[in-house]
């Protein structure tokens, strides 16, 4: 692999950037692989990379029905955080946060990891108390976080509505300083380039349509580009998981829902961190290009359309303007949607299945981007060793039968109630 550095940049500048290597190859599928990962989103790419890096598997393919960076990995609002209350979630996501720190170096690709802080606002005493409790649980798990008062919040975001007319006055907030953002498509491209460098075949425009199973054991997959033999397959298809699971005669505790986001026209630096509104579902950060990146609720009904409707956007932006009145003067540049794999307790599923050689990675809901590195690592472990990683034991599928749910938000199974 051609190493990216300031020297390679200068060298290539001298030749008008005509001599850069391709970032990853475009190989024909082989007849057989040691392991196949379905889905070339962040989780699939990271899984293949760590399989090659730590588990000494070299003959691996990623099969992607579209193109790298066409799914949720490049549709999300790039927020990284580990401000969870349950131990299982805290420990898992915080391991992920540690991995982000060195990811650019590890991949030799600038993923633009930016720990700019995430601030959850509270709009009542009760909410501030709940945040104090959450903050304490986080600290017990060794995660740095602080509860801050109204005056401190005002220093951070002076343009929020601090007038006496504010519909939802700001009481304070919970600040996780290490939370922040990363450039989503750089994460996809960086993992793809690094995996390719380790010999992983990235095969785009190759849809998996079925599985070959003999005596309860996987022997291969059927794809739009022919049948391919393999003894191990990992599903990393996010919103499409139920569709492939059906081919395995599996019903999953999951529903597909569309989540939208939008960006405003670019403006000068206004907001340096990530802020979430506490009186509804609205969150906001500013991209390096200057666009205000905003999101909120699911559209609220089952959907496989990568597109939503206006009422949700209107609702989200109404909340946005209640918090930041100056947003009302901006124009929206674009809106888009992605299909979420909403699990029935809001937490992910990383596990083996009843079929030998078939592994499952799904249920990321609207929060899987931040978990890309740690999901890849723990899923690679699960596939290579045929047993869960210590960090992902609580995310096994059988929790829905044993009652060990990880319902962080206390919403129950009505995932569309955000």
């Amino acid at each position: 692999m051609q190493k990216y550095s300031v020297f390679s940049l200068i060298k290539n500048a001298l030749t008008n950037h005509q001599n850069w290597d391709v970032v990853w190859r475009d190989p024909e599928p082989k007849k057989e692989y040691e392991a196949i990962i379905i889905g070339g989103g962040g989780h699939g790419l990271a899984t293949a990379f760590y399989l090659a890096k730590y588990y000494n598997m070299k003959n691996i393919a990623i099969l992607e029905k579209g193109w790298i960076g066409g799914g949720n990995v490049a549709r999300n609002t790039t927020i990284l955080r580990s401000n969870y209350m349950h131990d299982a979630n805290s420990l898992f996501y915080d391991h992920g946060m540690q991995m982000w720190k060195d990811l650019s170096q590890e991949l030799n690709y600038n993923v633009m990891y930016s720990p700019r802080g995430i601030l959850n606002l509270a709009h009542s005493d009760a909410q501030l108390n709940a945040y104090a409790r959450r903050g304490n649980s986080m600290r017990l798990n060794g995660i740095d976080v602080s509860l801050i008062g109204r005056e401190e919040v005002k220093k951070m975001i002076p343009f929020a509505d601090f007038t006496s007319n504010a519909r939802f006055p700001i009481f304070g907030g919970l600040l996780q300083p290490i939370g922040g953002t990363a450039r989503h498509d750089a994460v996809a491209w960086g993992y793809a380039r690094a995996a390719d460098d380790m010999g992983v075949d990235i095969i785009q425009h190759c849809e998996v349509n079925g599985f070959d199973i003999e005596n309860g054991k996987l022997t291969g997959v059927q794809t739009s580009r022919g049948n391919i033999k393999t003894k191990k397959v990992g599903l990393c298809v996010a919103g499409s998981t139920s569709l492939l699971a059906e081919k395995l005669n599996m019903n999953l505790p999951m529903e597909a829902h569309v989540l939208q986001a939008c960006v405003s026209e670019p403006v000068k630096p206004l907001l340096d961190g990530v802020v979430t509104f506490g009186a509804g579902h609205f969150y906001c950060s500013q991209s390096d290009k200057g666009e205000m990146v905003m999101g909120g609720d699911l559209d609220g009904y089952n959907s496989y359309a990568q597109r939503g409707n206006l009422p949700t956007i209107q609702h989200v932006l109404t909340e946005g303007v209640a918090l930041f009145p100056n947003l009302s003067r901006l124009k929206i540049l674009r809106t888009w949607g992605g299909v979420m794999d909403m699990s029935m307790d809001g937490s992910p599923i990383i596990d083996k299945t009843h079929i030998e050689g078939v592994y499952l990675n799904c249920g990321w809901c609207y929060g899987g981007f931040k978990a890309t590195p740690v999901s890849g690592l723990t899923f690679a472990h699960t596939i290579a060793n045929d047993t869960p990683h210590d960090l992902s034991i609580p995310f096994r599928l059988d929790r829905f039968n044993t009652g060990h749910l990880l319902d962080e938000k206390g919403l129950g199974t009505k995932t569309w109630i955000s």
């Binding site: 597909a256 089952n302 359309a305 409707n309 009422p311 039968n401 199974t413």
Partner: protein
């Protein structure tokens, strides 16, 4: 006809749902109630764990036609069924609760 086509092509800004009691109304007046095919196990019958878990957690989650519950919460406040395509957002039919497809 034109409306149905627009809905099929995804050219509409919001869903227009035909409440069986009130007629066509904007999506804003409704709230969603989930998969209408999920059946609660019979009362007073022997229910094993698997049946109970299936009822509570497991869903068919189809891409395509989906029978679901909606509530005309800012209208007549009746619950009813909607037969809708989850890939195109097209609404095929709406039914009263006691009606079947």
């Amino acid at each position: 006809m034109k409306k149905a086509l627009e809905q099929k092509l995804g050219l509409v800004d919001m869903l227009e749902i035909k409440c069986p009691y009130c007629g066509d109304r904007s999506q804003n007046e409704f709230s969603y109630g989930g998969d209408a095919t999920v059946k609660r196990p019979e009362l007073n019958s022997e229910v094993n764990d698997l049946e109970w878990d299936s009822f509570v957690y497991y869903r068919d989650n189809p891409r395509g036609k989906h029978l679901e519950l909606w509530h005309h919460i800012s209208g007549c406040r009746q619950w009813f069924k909607v037969h809708r395509n989850t890939a195109t957002h097209e609404i095929i039919q709406t039914l009263e609760m006691q009606e079947d497809l």
